[in-house]
Symmetry: C2
């Protein structure tokens, strides 16, 4: 008998067909009132955001659940503390590297070249070319500068590779000892301090875990160069919101560009607690980098492939170390 797997409503027919070779594929709408009866038989979950109908009571009743495959690369939104230890949870590791990496470069360049600010200034009627005579700090040249990457997963490695092409020096904070061509690898607390103090551009591309939450606070900001560019492509809560706001106000040459925002009441929101959008040295986009990958179908294909690895007895990729979250 094939194992039962519960998949998102929106999963493509193509993916359903592929999975059906290995499992009985179920969607909530197909189960209707039978959902409660079948819950204890479900062995695998494929999830985007966590399904609302799976509360703690339902999770407790999923006695056969062994494997959860996320469609996002971040898993901080999954109820890891409610899942029994036997359940293996996988991130959709690497599924967003290119698209989010491209977006990260968009934010780096938008901040370095002050594109949003210049466009806004002309829009608000400053149409005298002479006004824009440059001070050397206005448009940052990236060649020869140092790019510090915090988190050398798929996105971090993509950004590093383009940075090397642009003639930047690259250093990166990594968790595991490894080699990465053209990248100076740093480790631990001392490595982080070194990266923060020597980098002209700093990219956050690390998962949000209990270890990384608030990792950039007042002290870390104080270590950065006064004219550094900080780019966040990962999760808003890696940074302490109030400390960042104060730092941006106190250091007009410092720039922050982000696609991700802080959580309030468990959900990401564009309504920050401080008026970041009134600052000239802030650039923000509404968490569109990951979704820009989703529409390509790539992340779905990769998640399905990893689920099939599990279903066919091979070792899945991107197994989450739950002790970092719970």
């Amino acid at each position: 008998m094939k194992p039962k797997i519960l998949v998102p409503e929106g999963l493509s027919d193509e993916s359903v067909v592929r999975l059906s070779k290995y499992a009985e594929v179920l969607k909530e709408s197909q189960l209707g009132s039978r959902l409660d009866v079948i819950l204890p038989e479900i062995e695998c979950l494929l999830v985007f955001s966590w399904p609302r109908f799976l509360g703690s009571e339902q999770i407790r009743r999923m006695k056969s659940l062994k494997f959860v495959q996320g469609m996002m690369v971040g898993v901080n939104h999954l109820p890891l503390e409610q899942l029994p230890r036997r359940v293996v949870v996988c991130s959709n590791s690497g599924a967003y590297s290119t698209e989010v990496g491209e977006f990260a470069w968009g934010l780096i360049l938008a901040a370095a070249k002050k594109i949003v600010w210049f466009h806004g200034s002309i829009s608000s009627g400053n149409t005298d070319l002479g006004v824009y005579r440059l001070s050397p700090n206005d448009v940052v040249i990236l060649k020869g500068k140092t790019l510090g990457i915090i988190g050398l997963g798929g996105i971090g490695r993509y950004v590093a590779r383009l940075g090397i092409g642009a003639g930047m020096r690259i250093c990166a904070l990594a968790r595991r000892r490894r080699r990465e061509r053209g990248v100076v690898l740093l480790y631990g607390e001392a490595g982080l301090r070194k990266l923060l103090s020597r980098s002209n551009v700093i990219l956050l591309s690390v998962p949000l875990t209990k270890l990384t939450k608030g990792m950039i606070g007042k002290e870390e900001l104080a270590l950065m160069k006064r004219d550094a560019i900080l780019v966040n492509i990962a999760r808003g809560d890696l940074i302490e919101q109030e400390a960042l706001y104060n730092h941006l106000v106190a250091n007009p040459l410092f720039r922050y560009a982000t696609d991700v925002w802080w959580y309030e009441g468990g959900a990401e929101t564009l309504r920050a607690r401080f008026p970041f959008l009134s600052l000239h040295n802030f650039v923000g986009t509404p968490h569109v980098s990951g979704p820009s990958a989703v529409v390509t179908g790539g992340p779905e294909r990769l998640a399905v492939r990893n689920l099939i690895r599990y279903l066919s007895g091979r070792r899945p990729i991107g197994v989450v170390n739950r002790s970092e979250y719970v």
Copy 2:
């Protein structure tokens, strides 16, 4: 006796010292009332913008003038029609490749990722994350797309190289038969049409000459994909202003990003004849890409080096083909 050269007021002491080994270096302020007497003896000019005190009458009296070295890469602002045929004019070719190339990438990504639009939308109070659910056309993924480069000089080659790194297909309109690794080269009118119709991103990095002025008009825009991204890092007048405005209005998925603006009365101005800044698919910056290179001192050093090539009897680089301008 050393030849006399007239240099800009702001030329650095370092450059003056270097040039003094080969020539008598003069600045306008040092000459004062003797300027008129010395004009007929000046053999070389090093110029940024053309000096105001050198009108057509003064140019006629510069009987010894043999060589003009520009500090900009464009020479369309020099009075080429007034300079006798014996005068060799050199562009500061290659001096801006990295800095303007980086800026070009900033504009490409700002347009592809809609960073200016997203930031502006949040700023104007659209703070509901759900509003930004993406249609596939919103955030353009560059990997696998075609980048068409019109003008394969230093800037075009720089942008091509990074495009290859980002996994794009590159085609380029070139003037001379040559080879360029990873780039499909196209030539002439037929090549231009091919480039315009097949490219997802089109970069203008060609000099403004009598041959290229208005090269992108209604017909050329009509050849482009309806959702193409056109980026102008060269000169505003390469494009017919009214045709572009109408095209942007009629094709909301088409995007135009520019650092350069149209001339009015001989001078570039941010006050365009059409309300481009009211359009969501327009991104504009106030001609800061070249100046961002100037502040590094690199273009001055390169121009001085080329002037020394001339002064020491070697062949200078970047000699302008005046028939393309006059």
